[in-house]
Symmetry: C2
Subunit: 211 residues, 2 copies
C-alpha cells in the first residue's frame, strides 16, 4: 500500500480508535461504512476521516464507502507487528506489577521477556510469570536477548538515569509511565506516555470543583 | 480565591502538570519562577501560562514572578479533595487488579472502598486489601456507603450496562479504563478516560513503521 504523506502524530493516535470502531462494526455484521458514519463515532468530520486514510493510501473509493472487514485488516497490519516485539519492564514495584499483569493478557504484539529492579529483595522473584532481574544484569541481558521496547515504571529521577543506559543498549522505543520527559534529551526516540497520576489528578479537580 | 473564567478542559488537563513541575522546583529549592520559565518546562508560551492561571484568579504579580511554594499549595488545594473521596472499582479482573494495586499507594485523595465483579469465584476474595463483592450487592452497598466515584475496569459492553445503574445509584464521576464512551449518552457526567490499549497500539504503530 503506497503511503501518500507521512502521517502526523494526531493521525497516528487516531488509528487505534478507528481500528477499535471498525472491529466493533465487523462484529455487528456491518460490511460497508461511509466516511461520515466513521466521523460520527470518532467525533470528527468526514473530511478529516478521508484525509487520515489518505496518509496511508486511501483504502476506499469516493461514493462507495469503505469495506469494514478490509479496512479493519489493513489498519491492523499497519498497527500491529507480525512477530512479537521483545519487551522488558524497568521497575517491578506497584505500577510495574500492574503493567506486567496487563501484558499477560493484552500483549498486542509485544512479548514481555523480563523485568528489572534495583531492590535486592525483589531480584529472583517472579512478576506475573516473568523473572525479576538485577538492574546490574541489564547490559549482558540486552546483549543476549536484544529487547526493542522498554516499559518504564520507575519514578522520574530513576527514569532519567536509566534512559541513557537503555538507549546505549539499543532500546529505541518506550512505553513511559514515569514523569520523565524523554523528548527533551532524546528527540529521535519513540515514546508513548501514560500519566496515570495526571489523569487521576484531573478527575480529582473535576470532582473537587464540579461535582 | 476568585475564579475569573470557568477553565476549559485543556486548562484543567494542564493543572496536574503545573503542580508536578512546581513540586519538583520546590524540592530543588527554587522560590520564584517566571511565566516564561514555567512555559519552557510545560512546552507552551508565557502568555498561555498567564492565561491559564488567570482562570483561577491569577496567583502572581506582573514582573515579579510566581512564588513557587504558594503556587504549588494553591494548585494542590484546587486539585485535591480535603477529605478522601469514597471510590469503588467495577471489574476485578486483570486490569481491575492492576488499578487496585495502583490505588493502594497513589490514592491522591481517593479512598478505594470496595471492588465489584460478576464472577462467582471472585466474590469474597480480597483485591489489594479491598473486598470483592457481588455486582448484585451494588445497590444496597451504594445506599449505605454512598461512593462518589467509580473506576471502570470492565469491557466496553459491560461498561455500557453498568453505567446507567451506577448513575442511577448516584455516582457522578468515573475513571474509565473501558472503551465505552460515556459522553455520548451522559454528557453531564464527569469522566476521565485512560485507554491503555490505544496507547500501546500507538506505540506498536510507531515501532512497526518507524523503528
Amino acid at each position: 500500500m503506497p503511503t501518500q504523506n507521512k502521517p502526523s502524530l494526531p493521525v497516528i493516535k487516531r488509528l487505534p480508535k478507528y481500528y477499535r470502531y471498525l472491529g466493533e462494526m465487523e462484529k455487528e455484521g456491518v460490511t460497508k461504512v461511509s466516511s461520515s458514519e466513521l466521523a460520527r463515532v470518532m467525533g470528527t468530520t468526514a473530511s478529516q476521516v478521508r484525509q487520515d486514510f489518505n496518509c496511508f493510501g486511501g483504502f476506499g473509493q469516493q461514493g462507495i464507502g469503505y469495506n469494514v472487514k478490509l479496512l479493519h485488516e489493513e489498519l491492523g497490519k499497519l498497527i500491529f507487528a507480525r512477530h512479537p516485539v521483545p519487551t522488558i519492564l524497568i521497575g517491578a514495584g506497584n505500577l510495574g506489577h500492574a503493567m506486567a499483569n496487563y501484558f499477560r493478557q493484552d500483549t498486542q504484539g509485544f512479548e514481555l521477556l523480563a523485568a528489572f529492579d534495583v531492590k535486592p529483595e525483589m531480584i529472583g522473584l517472579t512478576l506475573c510469570g516473568v523473572a525479576i532481574r538485577d538492574m546490574a544484569e541489564l547490559e549482558s541481558y540486552c546483549a543476549e536477548h536484544k529487547p526493542k521496547v522498554a516499559v518504564i515504571c520507575v519514578p522520574r529521577e530513576a527514569a532519567k538515569q536509566v534512559a541513557q543506559k537503555l538507549i546505549d543498549l539499543g532500546i529505541r522505543a518506550f512505553w513511559n509511565f514515569s514523569h520523565y520527559d524523554f523528548s527533551i534529551e532524546y528527540p529521535d526516540i519513540i515514546v508513548e506516555n501514560v500519566h496515570l497520576g495526571d489523569s487521576l489528578a484531573t478527575l480529582s479537580y473535576e470532582v473537587n470543583n464540579n461535582l
